[in-house]
């Protein structure tokens, strides 16, 4: 339905003419692709549209008014904080209002009670800077320090620093959500106080609506304020050094250091991660794909391929480097304790320490995801799941096996099993699988592979992060729960009966499969004749 002039005028009255536009040039700036996360795919080309109107609210009240006006005039809308998440955080229907929340940058931090309250326009980078000034830190999600804290906390949000804390959803405290119909729902202590210091419900906890491992991608309302836990760090300053592209934080090694260890086997890798968790030491432990090291070394794309070209299946199979971040939370003596315990563990597996630069170029302040696009120009993670260490052990390799059948167009990675790490002191393990390709090539098989991974997880009985709107809901729904999709659709139907908030999520991938010819040949699951949502 076209956005009427009346609707536009009403929206303009909320923010003023300076902060709303329907100019085609400015709207073009909000195109999803062609580059970006999960871009250069059929999903991005088929499913995303340009916004008809872009509006920049400043306050929760602004957002509420905008949403209510959209409800009145039957205008679809979606929340947008940085747009980094690729096509899924862009318009999917015509005549949609894109609510760009970058002006919402309120920020508070309570360093006595270790929490910070932010609006959606605050990204991790300034938050982490403020935390570090006060002897704290947050876990900057793997998406990068440039992502919105709110968006990341309600969608993804882990990194090797999750060793101690694990699940990001446990770091969410009180928050404020503008429901799809414009009513405001405050959760946690915000429900009764002006302070978001605590997140549990009064009785049942409605934070359950925000995400279910991964998030609902903004289709159940707009979070306009969120408090998150800050974790106590160590007191020494991490000094930024270097000139781009070689910047990093110089680590005061008496209180924090990265250590790289070469261990003899995959089993040894797992054992190191496991024992570190069980010993309750360290701040992070991770094993990254070998080509990430090549990215870090390379001065540019061509040099990357020089370095990478020297590798093969055998070198990958024999690459066992575990990275450990030790943090002297308590004292230098505790640092020495952690190092001694780590030394014991490494000796037990027959590992050796490798030379490690004491500069953090990633994870603490940066979480350098942008480098993922250096090699090929397009990238997506096809799973990022926290489960157990044994689950993680075989999960990555199962992706690698499937991916080999789709290479090319994927980048040759010689069966690299992806990124693993330990979480919650080894109570969980993590596996993330990343794929890369040149978006100028035929990407139909990229789209097919993406859904095939879901089928593989179902077949092999793995848990997966790509639930909800990330994959066809009618594919994953019956297989997990079972029928979690029924509940998700019920909740969606209850709180957004018009499906006005970021349509057609959570059925976006289902719709993509119906619209894209090349997806029909892989569709072997049942869907209803008509999806239970109105057409936009």
């Amino acid at each position: 339905m076209a956005i009427t002039q009346e609707a536009y005028n009403a929206l303009e009255s909320v923010v003023g003419s300076e902060f709303i536009t329907n100019d085609p040039v400015l709207c073009e700036g909000y195109r999803s692709g062609p580059g970006g996360y999960e871009s250069g795919t059929g999903y991005e080309r088929v499913m995303t549209k340009l916004p008809k109107v872009v509006i920049l609210p400043r306050t929760t009240e602004d957002v509420q008014k905008i949403v209510k006006i959209c409800n009145r005039y039957l205008v679809a809308y979606l929340p947008y904080s940085t747009g980094f998440y690729g096509p899924r955080s862009h318009c999917h229907v015509e005549n949609e209002v894109l609510i760009d929340m970058k002006r919402m940058r309120d920020f508070e931090i309570d360093d006595k009670h270790w929490y910070s309250t932010v609006q959606p326009g605050v990204t991790y980078s300034p938050l982490q800077a403020e935390c570090l000034k006060r002897g704290g830190y947050v876990v900057v999600g793997g998406g990068g320090a440039q992502v919105s804290v709110v968006a990341n906390m309600i969608c993804d949000g882990w990194s090797p620093l999750s060793l101690r804390i694990g699940f990001p959803h446990r770091r969410i405290l009180g928050l404020e959500l503008v429901l799809p119909d414009g009513e405001i729902l405050k959760m946690g202590s915000l429900a009764v106080h002006d302070d978001a210091f605590w997140g549990e419900g009064i009785g049942p906890d409605l934070r359950g609506m925000l995400r279910g491992y991964t998030g609902v991608l903004g289709c159940l309302g707009i979070v306009t304020k969120l408090a998150l836990k800050v974790l106590p760090f160590q007191p020494e300053e991490l000094v930024p050094t270097g000139i781009s592209p070689n910047t990093g934080l110089a680590l005061p090694t008496n209180r924090i250091k990265w250590l790289n260890f070469q261990v003899p086997s995959k089993e040894a890798e797992t054992q190191v991660m496991y024992e570190i968790g069980r010993a309750e030491i360290a701040g992070a432990v991770t094993k990254v794909p070998l080509f990430w090291r090549a990215i870090a070394k390379a001065e540019g794309k061509e040099e990357f391929w020089d370095i990478w070209g020297l590798e093969n299946e055998d070198t990958i199979k024999n690459f066992h480097i575990v990275r450990v971040l030790l943090i002297g939370f308590t004292s230098e003596a505790q640092m020495r304790y952690d190092e001694a315990v780590l030394d014991d563990i490494i000796k037990e597996v027959g590992g050796v320490m490798r030379r490690t630069k004491q500069i953090d170029q990633s994870w603490i302040k940066n979480a350098d995801s942008a480098g993922m696009w250096l090699m090929c120009g397009a990238y997506v993670s096809t799973d990022y799941i926290i489960e157990s260490i044994p689950h993680a052990d075989t999960h990555g390799p199962s992706y690698a096996n499937l991916k080999a059948q789709y290479t090319p167009p994927f980048m040759p990675d010689y069966g690299d099993p992806g990124w693993t790490m330990g979480c919650e002191c080894g109570h969980q393990g993590y596996s993330e699988y990343l794929v890369y390709w040149d978006p100028d090539e035929d990407t139909n098989r990229v789209d097919q592979f993406y859904v095939e991974t879901s089928k593989m997880n179902i077949r092999e009985r793995y848990y997966t992060s790509l639930l909800g709107s990330h994959q066809p809901l009618y594919l994953t729904g019956p297989q997990y729960g079972p029928n979690y999709h029924d509940w998700l659709l019920k909740v969606k139907g209850e709180f957004d009966p018009l499906w006005i908030c970021h349509p057609p999520l959570p059925l976006a991938h289902d719709e993509f499969v119906e619209k894209a010819e090349w997806m029909k040949e892989i569709k072997d699951w049942e869907t209803p004749e008509k999806f239970p949502m109105p057409k936009w």
Partner: protein, 436 residues
């Protein structure tokens, strides 16, 4: 490895800014990480002073950041957008400060800066650009060989100060339009510094505008002609080194002249240095002795053209193929050759000064907003940008703001006065002179 590769046809590409299609690859690979907009995360100071993109901070739609501009640029390249006033604003309300280029190149190999230059050239080609204010300046340059339309004969008036100029020397001082007309104090200070160091220098017999105001707004043909003329003039003088104390002139001579002529900076036929480089060396080798105390608490602003934008130019043409790899290899210009240590060495050598750093420094500096035609066509962006920077000056409690570019100096000075602030704005040449 061969089995996993596929047959990507190779495309001929070059970094020639006259052809926008050379940058379609770069614009289409933007990942919206907004490294072009934010202060680089390692150096992020906190919740204040988080951005280094003036246009994106001024108008907060994504479309005013490089992430939005490249998407718009692709539509321009595809001829999908008309040249409306809004499109011209997006393309021209931008000091082309290089923050986006350097920010992007921290992780990727995309030529964002060149894409933005190419877009302006395309605008002029299509008859849409530049902005009316720029056309007036272009006319001034044609008529009087300076941006201001001032009498050409007055260009050397700044020399009436007892400054000793040689007939012939290895060093040629290029005063530039600002130094000659609006900021003679900078040219005079420079002359005296050169004299004090015992370095004979000459000036051009007939100095014309460097053409920054032409190139920066996309009038590349006119700028190229001027470049050729100016280079010949320097060669004819026999100078081995051209020194300037204007950052914009510095960047034009060092980077954009070779770019327009498709040669490397190294092949210009003479060295181009900024006064910062000269003074740093001279203080280092003792030929310049800043001994007088200067009692001032100051902070230093890294002007864009002597920081992010001044990596020597290296042309490139070749082919792009598999996974976007190019042949032959190209060492990307990532802004690593900025003059960061030189001004700091100089200021630290001057007794009595207290030098404090702003939250955003070096390659993270927030542009003054005046350069590359911005102040002329979008004065409100220029004053907005300067105001943002002046907030940082206040934050660190500096009495004076020192820079190495007359555009910066003038814009900061005017904005500071308009805001009713009491910050002293000085060029670094004036500070050096005060200590001699």
């Amino acid at each position: 490895m061969e089995n996993d590769r596929f047959d990507t046809p190779k495309k001929k590409v070059s970094f020639e800014v006259r052809d926008l299609s050379n940058f379609v690859y770069d614009m289409s690979r933007c990942i919206k990480c907004k490294g072009c907009y934010w202060v680089e995360h390692t150096y992020m100071p906190g919740i204040k002073f988080t951005t280094r993109c003036p246009s994106g901070t001024w108008k907060e739609f994504d479309s005013y950041q490089a992430a939005g501009k490249v998407r718009i640029g692709l539509a321009v390249a595809d001829k999908k957008l008309d040249w409306t006033p809004k499109l011209l604003e997006v393309i021209y309300a931008d000091p082309l400060c290089g923050a986006c280029d350097v920010g992007c190149k921290r992780n990727l190999d995309l030529e964002i800066g060149l894409s933005l230059e190419a877009l302006r050239i395309q605008a002029v080609k299509d008859g849409a650009g530049p902005m009316p204010a720029h056309k007036k300046i272009a006319q001034n340059i044609t008529d009087t060989h300076n941006q201001f339309g001032s009498p050409h004969d007055n260009r050397k008036k700044w020399l009436d100060q007892g400054i000793s100029v040689a007939e012939k020397a290895d060093v040629l001082y290029f005063a530039g339009c600002s130094g000659s007309y609006t900021n003679p104090e900078i040219a005079q200070a420079t002359g005296k510094i050169l004299n004090a160091s015992g370095t004979p220098f000459m000036v051009m017999k007939d100095e014309w505008c460097c053409g920054n105001a032409l190139y920066s707004v996309g009038m590349i043909d006119e700028a190229t002609e001027l470049a050729k003329r100016n280079i010949e003039a320097v060669k004819a003088s026999g100078a081995k080194t051209l020194v300037t104390s204007c950052a914009e002139c510095y960047r034009m001579w060092k980077v954009d002249y070779p770019k327009m002529l498709d040669i490397a900076t190294a092949d210009l036929g003479f060295e181009v240095i900024h006064l910062l480089e000269f003074a740093d060396k001279a203080i280092g080798n003792g030929s310049l002795k800043p001994t007088k105390e200067v009692d001032l608490r100051l902070t230093y602003h890294d002007a864009c053209s002597v920081s992010r934008l001044c990596d020597a130019w290296r042309p490139w043409k070749g082919e792009r193929g598999w996974m976007g790899t190019i042949e032959p290899r190209y060492q990307r210009r990532r802004g690593t050759e900025g003059l960061y240590s030189q001004p700091r060495n100089i200021l630290n050598a001057i007794p009595g000064l207290t030098v404090v750093e702003m939250p955003r420094t070096r390659e993270n500096a927030f542009c003054c907003g005046a350069g590359r035609g911005t102040k002329d066509a979008f004065p409100e962006l220029a004053s907005f940008s300067a105001s943002q920077r002046l907030e940082e000056v206040k934050e660190v409690g500096a009495e004076a703001l020192v820079t190495a570019c007359p555009f910066c100096k003038n814009n900061f000075s005017q904005t500071s006065k308009a805001n009713g602030e009491e910050v002293k704005v000085m060029d670094i040449t004036e500070v050096i002179l005060a200590s001699l």
